[in-house]
């Protein structure tokens, strides 16, 4: 199909709390992706960086920062910032450039160095900023995750044990992933022994923040054929739609939903994959595996339903049956997900695509999903940012 592009190469810097400059992680990931693609750096015509807001000016102009660190060679650059969807927006920019015919080969790269502890808003008295207001009132990120989790318990009868099963499953998946930060195979006892943060979620239900980097080399399908890589895995859809007024669910950092008094409410999470399925011309039943943004264990189950991989309220049953474990009929977060990685914001959406690429190539080692042909990613960040990418063989 005309709107597909090829993924020639993927690369990552392992996630951790390394405390080094983010540029180092991005360069390592980019060089690995270039090597994996079998192209040379000076053939890359466009560098699409995902920005980080935590590493000063070089982070704001990440595309140029990485291009310089890899060695200026005259490529055009772009930098995207879209919170957790930054990596997908960077991929979307590269795809647009390629599909318009303005370039053949592009590098998509994101990396981050994260501070310790809670992510806090800027200082000062700023009541016009919803992010400031909610922290002043005592509403933190885990508050939102916990409200969604408790809603599942109230509506569908999910239990804390079900949430724990997601963590046990993801820990098992990530235990052999060389790029994962946490490789311990946690048990239900470990989870139950961890501190309650925001009832019903414990510390081990909520993801950490990490350092890490991820990169892709993407090209036109014609270019891939020309260099003998016509069989490369393809990006079939990139959805980065914004929400539709009125919001159905109270979203971080808001203190209230929109009013649906005059117009019906819409779920933002559900709208992201909907556009991706339409663009790729495939249906949820075609999906073999998914990488979803498990900011919390319970949120992974919301995503399964938003991706239409099961009916509303049915996700916990799939988890209990083992369907979402590698070897089951619908493996979710084969990489180990955010549970094993921790969030490195500008790299995360790219890392999801890296995992799907390895899976669809049959290069995922102990994590391999047999015969995987179609994978989908999903993530959501602050201020109406989110994305869903479909990768297929």
């Amino acid at each position: 199909m005309s709107n597909e592009i090829a993924i020639l190469g993927v690369g990552m810097h392992p996630w951790g709390k390394w405390g080094k400059n983010f540029v180092e992680y991005g360069v390592k990931a980019a060089r690995d992706a270039i090597k994996d693609a079998g192209v040379v750096w000076k053939d890359v015509q466009f560098v699409s960086g995902a920005a980080t807001m935590r590493c000063g000016y070089p982070g704001y102009v990440a595309g140029a920062t990485f291009a310089q660190a890899l060695g200026w060679q005259g490529a055009e650059v772009n930098t995207s910032y879209a919170a957790c969807a930054s990596g997908s927006q960077a991929l979307a920019a590269a795809r647009a450039k390629i599909l318009s015919g303005a370039c053949d080969v592009a590098l998509v790269v994101g990396a981050d160095t994260t501070p310790k502890g809670f992510l806090a808003p800027q200082k000062g008295e700023r009541p016009d900023d919803p992010d400031w207001v909610r922290f002043r009132l005592g509403i933190t990120n885990p508050t939102y995750f916990a409200l969604y989790a408790r809603r599942r318990m109230e509506m569908y009868g999910d239990t804390q044990e079900d949430f724990g099963l997601v963590k046990v499953k993801n820990a098992q998946h990530g235990s052999t992933n060389p790029n994962a930060r946490y490789k311990k195979q946690f048990t239900m006892e470990d989870i139950n022994a961890s501190a309650m943060v925001a009832d019903p979620l414990r510390l081990m239900d909520i993801c950490a923040t990490s350092d890490g980097g991820a990169a892709l080399i993407v090209s036109s399908v014609d270019y891939a054929k020309k260099i003998g890589r016509g069989d490369a895995v393809k990006v079939a859809a990139v959805s980065t739609v914004t929400p539709t007024f009125a919001s159905a669910i109270v979203e971080m950092p808001d203190i209230a939903t929109d009013s649906a008094a005059a117009i019906s409410a819409h779920s933002f999470r559900a709208s992201l994959p909907k556009k991706a399925y339409e663009e790729a011309g495939i249906s949820p039943s075609d999906v073999d595996l998914a990488e979803v943004y498990d900011l919390s264990t319970a949120l992974e189950m919301d995503w399964m339903e938003d991706l239409q991989l099961c009916e509303r309220g049915q996700a916990a049953q799939l988890v209990r049956e083992g369907a979402t474990t590698i070897g089951g009929r619908l493996p979710i977060n084969t990489s180990g997900g955010l549970a094993c990685f921790g969030e490195a914001v500008p790299a995360q959406a790219i890392a999801q695509v890296c995992e799907l690429t390895w899976q669809l190539r049959g290069q995922a080692g102990d994590r391999q999903v047999e015969g995987a042909k179609v994978g989908i990613t999903a993530n959501q960040g602050l201020f109406g940012h989110g994305s869903s990418v479909i990768v297929k063989k």
Binding site: K123, F135, G138, R150, E154, D199, A256, T257, S259, A261
Partner: protein, 146 residues
Amino acid sequence: MTEEKKIEAALEGWFTLDKDEPHLLGTRCTCCGTYYFPKETTYCKNPECDSEEFEEVRLSRRGKVWSFTNACYKPPEPFVAADPFVPYTIAAVELEDEKMIVLGQVVEGVNVSDLKAGMEMELVLDTLFETDEAEKLTWKWKPVSA
């Protein structure tokens, strides 16, 4: 001698300071009827409405629990925590007329185990934090039965 502290809203203009029956203060689009909290006064965000006319409204004082949780750890600034930190319960409450869900702390003494989705809650005022000069109030949710 200690002077009485001033009573002030932690977020000025966000709610009335009526002790017995406080209300959140929002706006309503005079054209399509969409409510806004916090207030919107520039132009209507409903993509099917082009209005720039709003009236200030008091939002419903009662609603039903959509979901709930608590804060077991002290949030970062600008939250002003008591020392030692006292965990608090949080509820998301659905207002029927406005068709919106509003978050807020729940009054002291009400725990997560006391709440259920669908339970009726009402709005009250309570201290969010104190400065040397003033007691800063916020809205909190309280079970109607309690």
